[in-house]
Every structure is written in structure tokens, then in C-alpha cells.
């Protein structure tokens, strides 16, 4: 069995975002970039399945600028066997990413495709579901547990009311929740080894995918600021403020 894992390079989750003064986006120059956190869970799960003997190859793919190669390389360092980078220059919407991934799936013929449930930059939460639609594959989103059966997966999903379990036939798309597993760190020897693993480079136009945006970003602005609060000295003062000033209790 072969597992394709899609990974995205995003601004590190610990970075405090700054909006550009001209309102065209957020500052990305000289900002720490990392793998989108739930994509780390997706890689980890694929590697674990391979280690259990149920898969024989894990391929990591990223769609993005040249530097997204680092993100693919990181996936190789934690156990993916080889990488693919599909280069694009501009922002690519999830619809276009899913069309690119569809081409990669047709070429690689994986049995499973894993990715994070949501990218923490645009917060769209679309790509996995869109890819599933385009391939007419079943989808299991927000997975917190995956059991590999003979010809299917049993997936526990994190939903608003609690947990839901689905059985999806293979081939399938799974989008991963942060609670799925604990991603490992890459060891130094594995980082060195990953440098020798192959990364195939393609471009969106090689694959014949039109990546022209359908959504125009008119402006990006800071969220409304909260007015500064106060520190209270005691519980008594807190309750009095909530009762008489804020009038919420």
C-alpha cells in the first residue's frame, strides 16, 4: 500500500502575525516558517502505518514556492521515502491545490491520501474534501483515530457533538486532527539521510492545471483591538465588577 501525504509550508504557529501596512496581506519576510501543524500529524500517521507493515511507501507532496522544498525535506526526515514539489509563484487557492493533487494522484496511484484538516494560514479547511470530490473517493475528515482494515479504514472523527466513526473504502482521503498522534522529531542522522532522498520538482503548468485565483483579496486588516482591561486585586472585587460595571452576572 502506498500513502501520499500533502504538506503545506505556513508561518510558524508561534509567530505573532503582522498585517502589512498597505493592506495587501500579512508580513512573511524574515518570518519563521514551518510545516502546517496537522500536516505533521498526517506524516506521522503515514509513517506509523508503514512501520506497522501495512504500507510500503510514503510519498510527501507540497504545492508552493521553491522554499516549500524545506517542508518536503522535513517530511523525508521523519520517515517519508521520497518527495514531490509542485512549484507555483502566487497564492494558490484550495480548489487549484486539489486539482494539482488530483494530477499527482493519477500519476502516483496511492491507496490513501492524508493531509492536515486545515491550514493555519488561510484557515480554509477545504483541500482534502475537494480532492475527495474530484477523485470521487470517500472522505474522512478531522480524524483522531485511524484503523487500517483489509480493504477499508475505520476512522474516528472529531465532530461538534463528540466522536463519529466511519468506515471508508480504500482508496480514501483522510484529513487529520491534531489529536491523531504525537508527531516525532527528526533525529540528526535522519535529517542527514533525508538530504539524499529524492524530491521530484514539477510546476503547476507542467501538470496542466490553471491556478488563476477565483477569489480576489480586496484587503487584509487587523482585527478590531480590544480595549485594555484591568487587573483586579481580589475575587470580591472581580464579582463586584462583573455585577455592577460589566453587568453580566
Amino acid at each position: 500500500m502506498k500513502i501520499l501525504v500533502a504538506v503545506k509550508r505556513v508561518i510558524d504557529y508561534n509567530v505573532q502575525i503582522r498585517v502589512k501596512e498597505d493592506g495587501t496581506g500579512v508580513v512573511t519576510d524574515n518570518v519563521k516558517m514551518s510545516t502546517n501543524p496537522p500536516d505533521d500529524n498526517a506524516i506521522e500517521e503515514a509513517v506509523k502505518i508503514k512501520e506497522s507493515g501495512k504500507a510500503n511507501e510514503v510519498v510527501a507532496v507540497s504545492v508552493g514556492e521553491e522554499k516549500a522544498q524545506e517542508t518536503v525535506r522535513k517530511a523525508l526526515a521523519v520517515g517519508a521515502d521520497r518527495g514531490i514539489l509542485v512549484k507555483t509563484d502566487s497564492i494558490v487557492e484550495p480548489l487549484a491545490v486539489s486539482k494539482i493533487l488530483k494530477k499527482i494522484v493519477e500519476k502516483e496511484k496511492p491507496d490513501l491520501v492524508f493531509m492536515g484538516k486545515q491550514a493555519i494560514d488561510d484557515d480554509c479547511n477545504q483541500t482534502g474534501q475537494m480532492l475527495a470530490a474530484l477523485l470521487n473517493w470517500p472522505q474522512a475528515t478531522f480524524a483522531s483515530k485511524i484503523e487500517v482494515k483489509d480493504k477499508s479504514l475505520e476512522v474516528t472523527r472529531e465532530v461538534d457533538e463528540g466522536l463519529e466513526t466511519l468506515e471508508v473504502n480504500i482508496p480514501a482521503i483522510v484529513t487529520c486532527d491534531l489529536r491523531l498522534n504525537e508527531p516525532r522529531y527528526a533525529s540528526l542522522p535522519n535529517i542527514m539521510k533525508a538530504k539524499k532522498k529524492p524530491i521530484e520538482q514539477l510546476s503547476a503548468s507542467d501538470l496542466g492545471v490553471d491556478t488563476k485565483p477565483r477569489i480576489e483579496q480586496i484587503k487584509v486588516e487587523e482585527p478590531p483591538k480590544r480595549k485594555a482591561g484591568i487587573k483586579v486585586a481580589s475575587v470580591e472585587e472581580l464579582v463586584q465588577k462583573l455585577k455592577n460595571d460589566a453587568k453580566v452576572i
Binding site: 461538534d160 466513526t165 477565483r214 482591561g229 483586579v232
Partner: protein
């Protein structure tokens, strides 16, 4: 043209976030239709028809829809899509799972999780966990939009009498099967819609200690939330998680106890009207968004807080 809302329900009752989606849809176009895909779901279709903002209910009653599967919902929605300029639903786990599957088959670039309708093609949406807001304009012929429920008031539920039109089921999938749902039942208000929310973080130190939170929640008729750290540590179940990848809440009063205030948690609660933080670390980032900060050991502060609440003559419900 008209807006098609995809309703969320359990075959008996409509889920409340559909009401918020209907309000958002009304801001796009007055001709709001609601699709009810269910099995033995007449009571849902009837209650939707009584919502004054709804002009038509399309009810497809078929055993295929006994349990919600995105694959089955999508094929029914695609069949109806030609008549609509917009397809909308709530951006909770229901709508997040469904809408991209619909959008991709219509070759539409979806607009996710909007907080404001600016015009019929332009919307406001948070990005980077709410640390920035983008105004975006869709150029697709059909707009597939999910709405952040807490950003729109729920539509009124009585006084209307929309026509209920029966529809045909779409293709059903063999690829995917519903096995079970473990719902956590509670007598408390729902986290997403509660007037007061009290949340615990890693500072609670154990699941057992959440009883301190529960006691205050009982007194204030509050929902109980948690940070991801508390859920990951196993103190409380995942349905309580507030944050970027959990639930977004906008209560009148949010009380964060033993929560440091990671960016991901703030994303889920910082639009709350009044925020209280109780934390023994005076430097914790949660204090930067708190209206009232109390630097104290929560194990002293929570019992005292309850004691002071008990002294009050009246408490708002």
C-alpha cells in the same frame, strides 16, 4: 437568484447553527430556500417552514439520509444547484466537511467561515486564527459560502409558513459507511450558544479538578469549555475544546481559568463581550485580552468565586 441553505439536524430537530446561516443568507438575498435531507424528518421540515425568513423548504426524505454522510448529501445538492446563485451552510464540523465537496464538483472556489456579508459577492473572513481579517470577492458564478455561526444572530423560529416541496434523493454512495456516533449529552447550555462560558486549561492539573469549574458553571448556568492542552491531557472530552481548531464562542461572559492564552485558544474566544482571566502567572498572554484579570491560584480563587456568587441576591440566567 436564490440562496440554498443546507440544514443540519438529527431527523427530529433542527440544529441551532442553521438559524444563524439563515440570517446570513437573508443578507445576501431575500429568497432563501432551505434543503432538509433526512429520514423520517417531517418534523424538521415543518419547523423550518415556520421560520419567517425562509421562502421555501425542499424536503428530501429517504433512508439514505438517516445518517449524515458528505458523499450522499453532495449528490443531492449538486442536482439542485442550477437554480441557485449561492449555496450556504454553517462553518461547524457539519458544514466544513460538506461544502468543499460540493464546491469542487461545481468547480467553485469556496469562501469559508465568513463573519460578515458585505455584498452578494463580497465577504469578510478571519485568517491566521483571527489575527487578520480579509475582505474577499468571489468571481465564481455560484458562490459556495460557509458562515461563522457566532457572527450572525439566529433567525426567529416562528410566524412563517413557507411551502414544503418534496424532492428526489441523489445517488447514494457505497464507498463510505456510518458506523456510530458517541454524543456527549449534557443538561448544560451548548458551548456554541451559551451566554456564559467557563473554561479550564492545563492549570487545572487533572480532570477531577474540573469539578471546581463545574460548580461555578452550575451557579452561572454556563457551558464548560477547555483549552486544547486540557483536552490533550485527557482532563475533559474534545467536544469542550475552544480555539482555532475547536469551537469558536462569543458569549457575554467568558471566564478562562488556568489557561495561558496560546494564539490558538484566543482565536476561539477573544470576540467574547467580557473576558475574565484567572491565572497565577501574571505574564500569561491571556491577560492581554482580559477585561478583568485576577492573578491568583485558581485552587483558592474558584471556591472563593463560588462563595461570592452565592452571596448575590440575583444572578442572570
Amino acid at each position: 437568484m436564490s440562496v440554498l441553505i443546507i440544514s443540519e439536524h438529527n431527523n427530529k430537530e433542527l440544529k441551532p447553527f442553521t438559524l444563524n446561516a439563515i440570517t446570513a443568507a437573508s443578507k445576501v438575498d431575500e429568497d432563501v430556500h432551505v434543503l432538509v435531507l433526512g429520514s423520517n424528518s417531517d418534523s424538521v421540515a415543518k419547523s423550518v417552514s415556520e421560520i419567517p425568513n425562509v421562502k421555501k423548504v425542499i424536503h428530501i426524505n429517504n433512508p439514505v439520509y438517516e445518517n449524515y454522510l458528505a458523499e450522499n448529501y453532495t449528490s443531492a445538492i449538486i442536482k439542485l444547484s442550477e437554480d441557485y446563485s449561492h449555496i450556504m451552510c454553517s462553518a461547524n464540523t457539519f458544514g466544513k466537511n460538506l461544502m468543499p465537496r460540493v464546491a469542487a464538483l461545481l468547480d467553485v472556489s469556496q469562501v469559508s467561515d465568513i463573519t460578515k456579508v458585505i455584498s452578494d459577492d463580497t465577504f469578510l473572513r478571519p485568517i491566521y486564527a483571527g489575527n487578520a481579517f480579509a475582505t474577499v470577492k468571489s468571481s465564481d458564478k455560484v458562490k459556495c459560502v460557509t458562515i461563522r455561526p457566532t457572527s450572525f444572530d439566529p433567525a426567529p423560529t416562528s410566524g412563517g409558513s413557507a411551502e414544503i416541496q418534496l424532492g428526489e434523493a441523489g445517488d447514494s454512495t457505497e464507498l463510505s459507511k456510518f458506523l456510530k456516533k458517541e454524543e456527549i449529552k449534557s443538561d448544560r447550555p451548548e458551548l456554541g450558544t451559551a451566554r456564559v462560558v467557563i473554561s479550564g486549561g492545563r492549570g487545572m492539573q487533572s480532570g477531577e479538578n474540573f469539578k471546581l469549574i463545574t460548580a461555578v458553571a452550575d451557579k452561572l448556568n454556563a457551558a464548560i469549555g477547555a483549552s486544547r492542552a486540557a483536552v490533550d491531557a485527557g482532563y475533559i472530552t474534545n467536544d469542550h475544546q475552544v480555539g482555532q481548531t475547536g469551537k469558536v464562542v462569543v458569549p457575554d461572559l467568558y471566564i478562562a481559568v488556568g489557561i495561558s492564552g496560546a494564539i490558538q485558544h484566543l482565536a476561539g474566544m477573544k470576540e467574547s463581550k467580557v473576558i475574565v482571566a484567572i491565572n497565577k502567572d501574571g505574564e500569561a498572554p491571556i491577560f492581554s485580552v482580559a477585561d478583568y484579570g485576577l492573578e491568583a491560584d485558581l485552587f483558592d480563587a474558584l471556591p472563593k468565586f463560588l462563595e461570592e456568587l452565592n452571596k448575590l441576591n440575583t444572578i442572570q440566567k
